[in-house]
């Protein structure tokens, strides 16, 4: 007897397609493996940048830094986002996955591509860092691996759009798609543009690595950042979708105004790629007018979108809490929130650190004049660790605590550890990001193996405060690494050895009122 095509989730009441279930699991496991590899590399890089320890020799530092960048920013994040696309497409719309066989083909293509890249990096054939700037040359298998991975991800985005069509045609939902699906769709649209840039630059660079053609370094930088930064914009759109999703699941947050939230997602699609220009602000070949138009005008439209979401998500949480009866005074809704639920605490930390540290520093550095003093210093990684790690990764971790019981149908293992994990990770990353940013303010360069410049023909002295800041950064980073390690332990243990949950342990099939998971919104602003 064959297994049924669909099962019904006891908590959300949604019909979950068998292939969607399996694909979400496979992508989530692959993401966790990538996180483990990238996390080990992170600790090694951190212990080298901490000048008092200075663990790795120069050659291995750049090798491991490459591993860290690719494993975290590309493999972990994109595998997880593929899982989100299957969830937001098939699960939220009660639909089957369009072309499941192709979906599995895309998954294995991504796995093979990632393995090729990892092999070239670990064996010293691709010491080119995450940006792999031409004329630094890696083994052709590195570029081919990235291309295969990108093609696989592109196919998954195509399947997501196909699933939207299937759901519409088979009438598995009524009205507009839910806000979370809408947000995931914007992430998918940005992914198409991003991966197009990836193909646009990695295919000629692959041919260049074989000696078949030339690639201009400046053209490489311009097109590559259409991939390098835009891939982080997929993160932003996906992360914001996860914010709405977690808000609904944890405290019954409502969507304040569907039109405003959806318009903000559209702003991402229209303007966020142009923000990539801020990586080229000190490049000599581009005109000041081009730089100013992109970074002083268009970029702020994308920033506006984040500020809208930064208001509507907490406001939706507040309104949801007030409608649950926590409405006394200004902050009872926050005081009586479920702070012991790792899904909720992750959500709040993700919003706060992303906005207050990542957002503020990002907008500031995006100004051309200020960029002159911030460029290529530790301020830049200080900024993006606050956005991608404290923001996106933290949100994805929070979602995992719901994916484990809802999709894997297992209890979250080591529950007391799970409850404190977001505090450790977010607290550590907050200290790490702030200390890193301020070390950069004192001029400490990024991507540098030895800031004492030993044996260099010139002498550069930093303020003594730099030693304190780098030490603080290291302590914060190690605390975050412990938090990340706990997350991996919990995830792997829960998935492979976890205790299965019985259907009756869920919500007794009573559905909450989840704003953003249904359409139309239950409580529009009047």
């Amino acid at each position: 007897m064959t297994a049924p095509e669909f099962r019904t989730c006891p908590v959300t009441g949604r019909r979950i397609h068998r292939d969607a279930d399996a694909l979400i699991r496979a992508n989530a496991v692959a993401a966790t493996v990538a996180l483990l590899v990238g996390g080990i590399a992170a600790v090694l890089v951190l212990l080298t940048r901490w000048q008092a320890v200075h663990l790795l020799p120069a050659e291995w530092f750049y090798r491991i830094l490459t591993v860290h960048g690719m494993s975290m920013l590309i493999f972990f994040i994109l595998f997880f986002e593929m899982a989100i696309l299957y969830f937001a497409g098939a699960v939220l719309l009660n639909s089957r996955v369009a072309t499941p066989r192709l979906a599995w083909g895309a998954f294995w293509l991504m796995v093979v591509g990632a393995l090729m890249v990892e092999w070239t990096m670990w064996t010293g054939r691709a010491d080119v860092l995450f940006t792999s700037y031409v004329p630094l040359r890696a083994h052709p298998a590195f570029y081919l691996g990235v291309i295969l991975f990108a093609v696989g991800a592109l196919v998954v985005t195509g399947i997501f759009f196909g699933t939207l069509v299937v759901a519409r045609r088979e009438r598995t939902y009524t009205g507009s798609v839910p806000l979370v699906t809408y947000g995931a769709a914007t992430a998918a649209i940005i992914a198409v543009v991003t991966l197009g840039h990836g193909a646009g630059i990695y295919i000629p660079t692959f041919l260049w690595s074989l000696g078949l053609m030339k690639v201009d370094p400046e053209v490489y930088r311009m097109v590559w950042w259409g991939l390098g930064h835009a891939s982080q914009q997929i993160n932003v759109a996906a992360m914001v979708s996860v914010w709405y999703l977690l808000g609904a699941l944890t405290v019954g947050a409502v969507v304040l105004n569907e039109k405003i939230s959806r318009s903000a997602f559209v702003l991402y699609v229209l303007f966020i790629n142009l923000a990539s220009a801020h990586h080229l602000l000190v490049d000599p070949g581009l005109s000041p007018a081009w730089k100013i138009v992109n970074t002083s005008y268009f970029m702020y439209m994308a920033v506006l979108a984040s500020m809208i979401h930064g208001f509507t998500v907490p406001a939706g949480i507040e309104l949801g809490q007030r409608l649950r009866g926590f409405g006394t005074g200004m902050f009872e809704w926050l005081r009586k929130a479920p702070w012991g639920d790792p899904g909720f605490s992750s959500l709040i930390f993700s919003i706060v650190v992303f906005g207050f540290v990542g957002g503020i520093t990002g907008v500031t550095f995006g100004t051309e004049q200020i960029n002159i003093i911030a460029h290529n210093t530790l301020r830049i990684p200080g900024h993006f660790h606050a956005t991608v790690v404290s923001g996106t990764a933290m949100a994805f971790m929070g979602l995992t605590y719901y994916v484990i019981p809802l999709i894997f149908r297992k209890r979250v293992a080591f529950w007391p550890l799970a409850r404190i994990q977001p505090y450790l990770f977010a607290g550590g990353m907050l200290v790490f990001s702030i200390a890193m940013t301020f070390a950069g303010t004192f001029g400490v360069p990024r991507r540098h193996w030895d800031i004492s410049f030993a044996q260099a023909p010139f002498d550069v002295q930093f303020s003594p405060a730099v030693d304190v800041l780098i030490g603080t950064m290291a302590v914060g980073g190690l605390v975050a690494a412990v938090g990340g390690g706990i997350y991996i332990l919990i995830t792997v243990w829960s998935v492979f050895f976890g205790e299965p949950i019985e259907a009756r342990e869920g919500a007794n099939a009573v559905r909450p009122t989840p704003g953003g998971l249904d359409a139309p919104a239950p409580f529009p602003v009047r």
Binding site: V11, L249, T250, V251, G252, L256, G310, F311, P314, A315, E318, L319, G320, R322, L323, R324, G325, G327, M330, F331, W333, L334, P338, G340, D341, P342, G343, F344, G355, F356, I360, T361, V363, T364, T367, Q369, I370, I372, I373, A374, Y401, Y402, P405, L406, R411, V412, A413, W415, T441, G498, E499, I501, E505, G506, A507, V510, P512, T513, V525, R526
Partner: protein
Amino acid sequence: MRSGLPQGVSTPPRHSPSVDEDNERLHSRERGLWGSTPGTLVLAFVFLLAFMLYYFVNWKLLSFVWKVG
């Protein structure tokens, strides 16, 4: 919260029985500028203050690097 199950799974959030009346009251015009989400409005102003402070400090730093006159 049952061990191993997040609260949103073990006891999903449900709005109070008087949700429609509460919603009506929260969106009443009498609440004025604070609206239905006053706490978030306060937090938004804290954010804007932090933004202004950090932005100003950066322009100040820039003026040390590129002195005029």
